[in-house]
Amino acid sequence: MTQNQLGQMYALTVMTPIDPTRAQSVRDILADLPRRPSPFARLKAAHFARWVTVPDFVTDPSQPAPEHLPGPYLLFSVTFDGLLDAFLEQLTASLETELQAIYGCCVGAPDPARGEPLQDYLRHNQVQTGLFFSAYPDATVETVMDALGVRQRTIDFAIRAQGMHPNELLSAFRTEF
């Protein structure tokens, strides 16, 4: 009844409780993470990733009663290529420092928050995906990026090639590609 996988892509969702006294630290760490490149850029397999702090659930006015989280939670979501175990290995190896700082603030996390114990903690807190949609489930990050590069070079070439004589065209194409 779950769909964590589609094609060769995997949808991982993890919800971990944050130690309420460390909630601001988590927010600060996330805010200070570099962008372009993000630490996630070290992961060859990750298409999209996000960390979201969830201070509490929202209570809708029409709910019969409020329901609070026991404390703030951290949502971690990644869309990646391949299987979970291999990915978690890569994740804990490539983002060791960042993960240790972030998950070091989480309730029940191993101390230190790294390596296999951290992988187990994340698996323990995994939310099974019900429905997963991907526009290109069979394409890996590498395939996508290669294809984007080829497309751009083709466009640039096509513009240059306009008005070229056949001899020039063929040799230019062979050189470019």
């Binding site: 990733a49 969830v54 509490d56 329901e67 019900g130 429905l131 294809a147």
Partner: protein
């Protein structure tokens, strides 16, 4: 949603005037949502909603129906501004440290998307083209006002939306349609390159012209 670090007390986050254009997640960029939710062209939306218990029966059946159906998500593909999206039902929180396992009285529907365009246009597109689909996903959630008219639906999503602390896309400058175009055209270029080895300039000129004619919508 205002900065969620302030809303954490369980008080309803329905702010007066929330149904107006005044979205509390300030549209500080052309995307119509907080900068935190943006990486290049990619935009993140993260939503939790409280479900009525009948959703625990309806949603898994609906998910199954969509997964088994040959083309149920066709409209999502046609709209083609979504890279990836997911829906999950959270019934329980596992035990961690001092926190015991907790079965939720109001299970939560988790929705996330990675898409392009603008927040308003994205939700509008869902409202107008996937009206019944929105019912299937959010009909069991408390406070869901129905997908049409669009303004109350947008206000509902905003009330239940969370801002990302960190958001990443591996190819931030590429939209979903560009990725799909690239995936279509790249093998064609490779095939042409291979065939070019055996072609005369005149033959290639023709082949190149045919390639442009056939692939122009992907370039």
């Amino acid at each position: 949603m205002t900065d969620c670090s302030v809303v954490g007390t369980g008080v309803s986050s329905q702010f007066p005037g929330a149904s107006r254009s005044r979205g509390a997640l300030r549209a500080s960029s052309a995307s119509g949502t907080s900068e935190q939710n943006v990486d290049g062209e990619a935009i993140a939306i993260t939503v939790f909603s409280a479900m009525r218990r009948w959703g625990l029966l309806e949603l898994p059946i609906f998910f199954l129906f969509v997964r088994r159906g040959r083309d149920s998500l066709r409209i999502l593909k046609e709209l083609s501004f979504i890279h990836a999206a997911r829906w999950s039902v959270i019934r329980r929180l596992p035990a961690n440290g001092d926190y015991p396992e907790r079965r939720l009285r109001f299970p939560r529907l988790y929705f996330e998307s990675n898409f392009n365009g603008g927040w308003e246009e994205y939700i509008d597109a869902f409202s107008y083209t996937l009206t019944l689909g929105m019912w299937a996903f959010w009909g069991s959630s408390y406070g869901f006002p129905s997908a049409l008219p669009p303004s109350p639906f947008k206000a509902y999503i905003r009330r239940n939306e969370y801002e990302a602390g960190h958001y990443y896309s591996a190819y931030p400058d590429a939209t979903a349609t560009t990725v799909l175009a690239a995936l279509r055209v790249s093998p064609k270029v490779a095939a042409l390159r291979a065939a070019a080895n055996a072609m005369s300039p005149e033959q290639f000129a023709q082949a190149w012209s045919d390639f442009l004619r056939d692939e122009q919508r992907s370039l």
